[in-house]
Symmetry: C2
């Protein structure tokens, strides 16, 4: 069993102050570091398609819900601010990947949907992205992955309850 970065950081802290309860750091540090590495890896194939990860998330949210969404719903769905969604929608619309439709009853609200081109892009990109992710994770066998996934799910449920179901 070799050391990871977090273990060596923890060891440094212990050397400086042995009374520190570094328990939480080990778990949280590893989650953060894994997330950073994975996101970095995932961004590469997306950039090749001219998309930001945030843009891809937005397109994916529309695609997977399979209906028109309002900008507000998209902000909640992608865990980002309304302003960010507004700007992303503008550039995606200029690129012809999404389309807007005004609501008949309430003229404040828009409905966003994918254009034919946008849908094709997502449907081409997602399987490729998933295949790539599979290779990135290939160091773990099937059993380890599902076990890890299940335990993270447990933590995630706790956090969502404790912290508040997501940024609003």
């Amino acid at each position: 069993m070799t050391d990871d970065i977090v273990a060596s950081v923890v060891r440094q802290w212990q050397a400086v102050n042995p009374e520190l309860d570094t328990g939480p750091m080990e778990l949280i540090g590893r989650i953060n570091r894994c997330a950073a590495l994975l996101q970095q890896a995932e961004d590469a194939p997306l950039r090749a398609a001219g998309l930001t990860r945030a843009e891809f998330d937005l397109l994916g949210a529309v695609r997977r819900t399979d209906r028109e969404l309002t900008p507000g719903e998209l902000a909640r769905e992608t865990f980002s601010s309304g302003a960010a969604v507004t700007k992303r929608l503008r550039v995606l619309q200029e690129r012809g990947l999404v389309d807007r439709r005004g609501d008949d009853r309430d003229r404040r609200v828009n409905h966003i949907r994918l254009t034919e081109q946008g849908r094709e892009l997502v449907d081409m990109l997602l399987p490729r992205q998933l295949a790539y992710e599979r290779t990135v994770l290939s160091g773990l066998d099937e059993q380890s992955r599902t076990r890890l996934s299940a335990q993270l799910s447990e933590l995630l449920v706790q956090l969502e309850g404790r912290i508040g179901g997501g940024p609003r």
Copy 2:
């Protein structure tokens, strides 16, 4: 066992396209989401002290290595760009938290160290931060935490080898 966000997203994808191999998404999605929630939670107490998480990471890196570091070393240690470190150092120096010393042999390089005030701030903040993290994680018992931590360590070692030991 209740559902988390990732499970419902996966279900949506399956409904739209049942042939998708969503395995990787479950694990990566959960890691990312946990990281996002945890970071959001951790930022709150830091902002109360007038610090960014990135600034705190920088101060912590100097504190835990217990010696003077150059800006370049700090960039590697905190996984951020040299330019970002330069700017953070400038504001931290203006606040009187860090101090610089030019190298005698090589006048290109600086050595950064904490001021008395900077050291006191870190030493006050870190235990508070760790205690807060412990409460955030309190939904999991000790055993679950260490098990999860160990499995993530295994993944992290794989990723560091595969992706390249960090941004360089």
